[in-house]
Subunit: 513 residues, 2 copies
């Protein structure tokens, strides 16, 4: 018997970012999810008379997420999960443990750690009790955790959302609530070995995500300190000058010089002296040697230390085979105050969708460095725990991935369902419930339509829409014959399977180790 009208089979392909790693085992079919992409949509609502309370009358309110935040639809979380899996598998490959900390901290814990950026911290309302703030990054909570638990040696990762009351630019992946994926190594070790591993991790992740060509800029706060010192900048202006220099990746030297002279009060001559260093072409060992020969800079102890370690770092990166993607760049300064040694930042080198009208802005997708003083700020006795780490910025990567998926017309499955339990005729709800229960209990991912008497065509259409590869059909004749008709959605092939062999048969057809 064949009561099945053939349906057009969808063209499912494995997306580029899934090819290098196998998920558990479902059939590699991907189906579009029909729903919403209206994450930023705003709807004016005339709220109906509240059904649940009497104190809530009619009033207008805006149906939206808070400014600078967004929901993730099933399609978006599916893409996000692939990115996370790539990052997590890398962090695990490097032997990291996991910790988690609360989304808010005592306000005092965050105070005095972020310099000028402290104004971007979200505070909670004083409702009695402690004064709290939402975390601004995962680094300060990590340092607080180490000091509180007297941990002097750990390698951990932490993936979580952080909060900044910044000006959002959501089309370019800049949000007020966003994920950071942090990997840090804490402990007293020999120079540059953990630092080099952090850079290896950035290299592995950006390579696996296939985001196109990238470059990792490195510098060292000690070298910058030496540069500023020989140019005549007082120590008290060090962090402030770092902030200004850090703008070189977006602004011209003239703008940066103007800020130094106009806002920071440096003389034009001092600014020009700084310019001579930070505008040097980025490089590798050559630039290091050049600076080590520099008559003024080579007299500065911190700079000499930093340059020596930079040389060591490049040796290790060469052994890792990744030195070609690393660029020693004196213009890299990083914004945050707490860095004390090596700093780095990874940038994507070209727009991913140059052919599209609005390319995703190219920019920093990872950054980090060494912060040897932060834990000591929390420790009762000021004991230092040297740390180095890296933070992968996910939102920009998501934006690129989303655009790639859209451009490629790949269908993304948002579920992993292996089989739909369907009925060929009416009055078979009980049989469907019994069968699906058996499948669930055997670990098979199964769905059914929540109708007493769904039409077969609707059941098959549901499989098409959701990329479900198999249909287990119960019918009157099949019940008599003690079989279930198993239909392969892509090929429309149908085969009667004895009821007792069904689970094995489904597993065989959906898992290809």
């Amino acid at each position: 018997m064949n009561w099945l009208r053939p349906l057009a089979a969808g063209a499912y392909r494995v997306p580029f970012w899934a090819q290098h790693r196998a998920p558990s085992c479902p059939l590699r079919a991907f189906a579009a999810h029909p729903e919403n992409q209206v994450a930023e949509g705003v709807v004016k609502v005339q709220q109906p008379k509240a059904q649940l309370g009497t104190d809530e009358g009619k009033k207008n309110f805006i149906l939206k997420t808070p400014k600078g935040t967004r929901d993730y639809s099933p399609k978006q979380t599916a893409i996000r999960e692939k990115v996370f899996n790539t990052i997590i598998s890398c962090f695990k490959r490097h032997g990291a443990e996991v910790i988690d900390t609360p989304v808010f901290e005592l306000k005092e814990t965050l105070m005095g750690k972020y310099g000028e950026d402290s104004k971007l911290i979200y505070d909670l309302k004083d409702q009695g009790g402690e004064l709290l703030s939402l975390r601004y990054d995962l680094t300060v909570p990590f340092a607080r955790y180490l000091a509180m638990n007297k941990i002097t040696n750990i390698k951990r990762y932490h993936i979580a959302k952080v909060y900044r009351r910044d000006n959002p630019a959501m089309t370019r992946g800049r949000y007020r609530e966003f994920y950071q994926c942090d990997f840090d190594i804490a402990g007293h070790f020999d120079p540059m070995i953990p630092d080099a591993e952090c850079l290896k991790i950035v290299h592995e992740i950006l390579s696996m995500l296939q985001l196109g060509d990238f470059l990792i800029k490195v510098n060292d706060r000690r070298i910058l300190n030496g540069v500023f010192a020989v140019c005549g900048i007082p120590d008290s202006l060090f962090h402030s000058t770092c902030s200004t220099v850090d703008k070189l990746n977006k602004a011209t030297w003239e703008d940066v010089k103007n800020e130094m002279v106009g806002e920071k009060g440096l003389s034009p001559e001092t600014a020009d002296r700084i310019g001579e260093y930070v505008r040097m072409p980025a490089g590798g060992l050559g630039l290091i040697e050049q600076l080590l020969q520099d008559p003024k800079l080579s007299q500065n102890k911190l700079a000499r230390e930093g340059l020596g370690d930079m040389k060591l770092l490049f040796e290790y990166l060469t052994l890792f085979g990744i030195a070609d993607k690393i660029s020693f760049d004196l213009s890299l300064a990083r914004g945050l105050d707490y860095y004390t040694g090596v700093i780095y930042e990874a940038i994507l080198l070209q727009p991913q969708n140059a052919h599209k009208e609005e390319p995703v802005g190219v920019g920093s997708v990872a950054g980090g460095g060494r912060y040897d003083g932060l834990v000591g700020m929390f420790d009762p006795k000021g004991r230092k725990v040297p740390c180095v780490g890296v933070s992968i910025g996910i939102e920009r990567i998501f934006s690129i991935m989303e655009q790639k998926v859209e451009a490629s017309e790949e269908k993304i499955r948002t579920t992993e369902t292996q089989v739909l339990v369907a009925a060929a005729q009416k009055k078979l709800l009980e049989e469907r419930l019994k069968l699906i229960s058996e499948l669930w209990d055997s670990g098979i991912k199964a769905e059914m339509l929540y109708k007493k008497n769904p039409k077969l065509l609707n059941q098959l259409q549901y499989c098409e829409d959701n990329g479900i590869p198999l249909v287990a059909i119960v019918g009157e004749q099949e019940l008599k014959d003690e079989v279930v008709k198993l239909r392969v959605v892509a090929t429309r092939e149908e085969v009667d399977v004895r009821r007792e062999n069904l689970i094995e048969e489904i597993k065989r057809r959906t898992c290809h180790p």
Copy 2:
């Protein structure tokens, strides 16, 4: 050559909750993590002179997490991950998609949804712009998401932290920041089919977690509505009376009656009439039939509907083979206002660690129900989207799991590292870096000590401490012979492996499909 002092091999076992599912593939060896369990520790700190700012001088502050919150140590996140994996695999088995929403919502979005509990909502400080609150559960954000994106049909799960300014009781797993694992089905379907699936899910999860015997209480808001109506309670007191009745699982009938009469202003006779119903022994089909015969209650339209659906629900649960764990219980009322139909709550039936001095308090570990009106409260035209869902409460389950692990003296691995790259003599850092880089690039989880010249004994001890099953040792002789010495930590067996075969050999020894 054998320069290796034998070390005591740890006794690693697979923990009970890991036996039913295989993680990716690492050796199933579990090692204790030496660090911290001082999650709730409080340290008085004399803050050292701030190194990074000048506006932060010396002052006392408390080094702690905010009240009612905690950090998760690596050991705790490892246990947590197993619990999450069990829950997520169940949600996926039932074909759920994933969505995510921001941690805060517009304050207005949460207003008028939680009744008396609204006072427990965390508000953010008004720093200019929108008024925001931290989410109190995942249900209201889900309903807001559906209305905003005009979604009328979805099955999704969402695992995230929620926030309640409640009185914390952390030893019993009650926190101010805690996880909820929500599964919900939205859409217009035939009665009780999705509702039954939610109960099946609770049953599957509690069975797989092996938390001991459990019971799922069910009731229906429509039946309660009928009961209260025939007892003479006005509609306006319905939610308030539900709150009071809901206390029956912790308080005696006398206390509950006192609250009805003293605080809610009911007459003692009215309270007693309610008592006659809500104190009926819980049951199944028998109780349903008894109530359908009740001369007063059977006259109430809502109650008849609710009882009819309850009968249907039990039919479906019987087909699922789980009716023995389900108890129709008129004393179950649930606290939140938004339920409109079936409600349920799962409790563990006995203390898990009765032999220990402080048993984990037995209580509710899952709850949920039908809320057909909530989405309509957000929709501009009041269009309703019927929903039913369940929320798994994780903290209490974590507490039990943690105690079980501690009692069993199982060693929990907090990393998945397969191999440590070690050196037999000094001056082999370069060789270690080259080798580990190859291993990482082949997808092998590898670590090395961050020392230039670590002692072999320290390297082997690191493997013991962290449950790393293999050591790849480079030595001078091995380099000459173009081999690597592979040592199995548990058996101390050593074998020379040709360098070009090493990756294959490690994979062979650590993956058992």
